[in-house]
Symmetry: C2
Subunit: 338 residues, 2 copies
């Protein structure tokens, strides 16, 4: 697919994830080791399936957030490594189940586990990783962290079900859609960030700040992901332009393009999303309508709004390398577009 | 299906679950209320799917075990109600995922959730219930109970994957099969029983006793379930004779019949289980081979062996109404056959 919708140049220096990667490097080494260890099992199929996804080159942004958030408040134990690993396992379990739910063939440019080992193994290995995640949290022994992460697990599943029920309904409002991504994406970012101050014994205000940072970073991250599916450098990220479209997914660019369109445009979107008329010609039309409605640039503007809230959430905190790295990650998530 | 394999009369008075039901009645009222409350969500599909299965008339044996085991050691708080509800949610989540994995159409004589709402909702509502289960455990605040239950969650999933990998392999030994049911069934019975003494602050010896009771009761329970699928009063329990056979499931009656058979018998089993030649005529043959090999009676004898271990596990404990009820449940699980 060569269609890339040109985006406004926001004239910002490109932000990087590198400061966060450097800051968390030693601890991430331990996280990566623990991931391999805890995805292990005498039942051979489990490490095979788990490692297929685990080794497929995700950025591991969520566990890095946990580690950075703990270091921000001077945490010196090693519970943060277990919590970060738990967070990544929760994420991996969600991806395994998502691929079954969405009937996806590809993730990050590789065949999904369900295409290789079947839906059965994807469901069950997801369950296993979730169980292992909870065991590690219990090992750490912080009931507050357990509360935050188990609540997130419920909310994520609730968000996925909510997404099912808005699926194929073009009358979905921006608020409806935000409720979905707040639950299915932002809740885990939020929990990943909040367990840092929790385990470090930081104040309630600090917990609140990190939770707000995580939530809003997660919203910005998901909105930019939605944009990447219709343009930007999607190809480089192992995504194909139009994957969401072909799966009939409602995302913010689609919501905006539908609501801003004329009767013909809306008829097109209903036919494409509600009736599944989503071949390559339809994708070309979709891209043209999205361009006409300026939906991608405005989705990015919305993402920037949540990015700004995330930034202000951290504003009162002392300037530390961790804070600087976490602030830069906000811009990095948004700048992935360019 | 009118085929019922006659079983030896063991000349035992029929044991009842009634003492356990009576003992736990007030607390089970609270469990049932909490089940409804915690299966609730603003996302409408969640209580719909959850209540479909929850209201389908399971015995709720596992939560009753938790309540009885807590009362056995004089527990007077109300954490046992939350733990019992967590145990039932873990069980319900497993059933929802199992039906997807096994592609089952019926459970307890009703359409499975996946047949009504699809695999997607079954996977996700299972995840939601698991999340709610962990939240309730965290609420109770016992790290030891959390450890036991989260370990069980991992083991159950591991057992389900193990079952996948032995599926369709007629060389599966009795030991292989026991490893599967030890993980997928007995682990939750074991955890359900052990969290009783944990929350009551009982001794390690008491915990060990209840864990052993739960494990062995679970093994006996599953083996009798396997027998019921080929005879006994399966129809009354909302099961159809031959469901396991039609799904190509390897259970102990099949393992025994295969190993005890001659070359022709073994060729039949391989064709039926490994190649899926499992029509009604094949079922008739299977029932005849199982009868010839005495596999059902011997599976019941195996179940009685585990029942005896469960009984001895409780032997050193003081005689209480809870102990009497839990002992009678062992016989009840086995006597379901008659």
């Amino acid at each position: 697919m060569g269609v890339v919708i040109p985006l406004e140049d926001k004239n910002r220096n490109t932000a990087s994830i590198k400061p966060l990667v450097d800051l968390t490097k030693p601890d991430m080494g331990r996280v990566n080791q623990l991931i391999l260890e805890k995805a292990g099992s005498d039942v051979e199929m489990i490490p095979e399936v788990a490692n297929h996804l685990i080794s497929s080159g995700g950025k591991r942004l969520r566990p890095m957030l946990t580690l950075a958030a703990a270091s921000m408040f001077g945490y010196e134990g090693d519970g943060h490594v277990k919590l970060a690993t738990s967070v990544e396992f929760m994420h991996t379990a969600t991806l395994l189940h998502d691929d079954v739910v969405d009937e996806s063939d590809l993730r990050r440019g590789k065949s999904t586990a369900r295409m290789i080992w079947g839906n059965q193994a994807s469901v069950l290995v997801g369950d296993f990783l979730l169980g292992q995640a909870f065991k590690m949290m219990v090992d750490v022994g912080s009931l507050d962290a357990l509360d935050v992460l188990s609540t997130a697990a419920s909310i994520i599943a609730e968000g996925e079900v909510l997404q099912l029920s808005v699926a194929g309904n073009m009358e979905t409002t921006e608020d409806d859609y935000l409720a979905v991504i707040r639950a299915k994406t932002a809740a885990l970012f939020s929990a990943a960030a909040e367990v840092g101050p929790i385990i470090a014994g930081a104040s309630k205000a600090d917990r609140d700040a990190l939770r707000s940072y995580g939530t809003n970073l997660g919203l910005a991250f998901q909105l930019v992901d939605d944009v990447l599916d219709y343009g930007g450098k999607a190809q480089d990220l192992g995504k194909n332009v139009g994957d969401d479209f072909r799966e009939g997914k409602i995302t913010l660019p689609v919501v905006l393009s539908y609501r801003r369109g004329d009767d013909n445009d809306r008829a097109f979107w209903r036919s494409a999303i509600e009736e599944g008329n989503n071949d390559e010609a339809a994708l070309e039309t979709a891209l043209a309508l999205i361009a006409k409605s300026n939906a991608l640039n405005d989705t990015i503007t919305r993402a920037e709004h949540y990015g700004a809230i995330a930034r202000d959430a951290l504003a009162p905190l002392a300037d530390t390398p961790a804070k600087a790295a976490m602030l830069e990650v906000i811009d990095f998530c948004i700048d992935r577009i360019n």
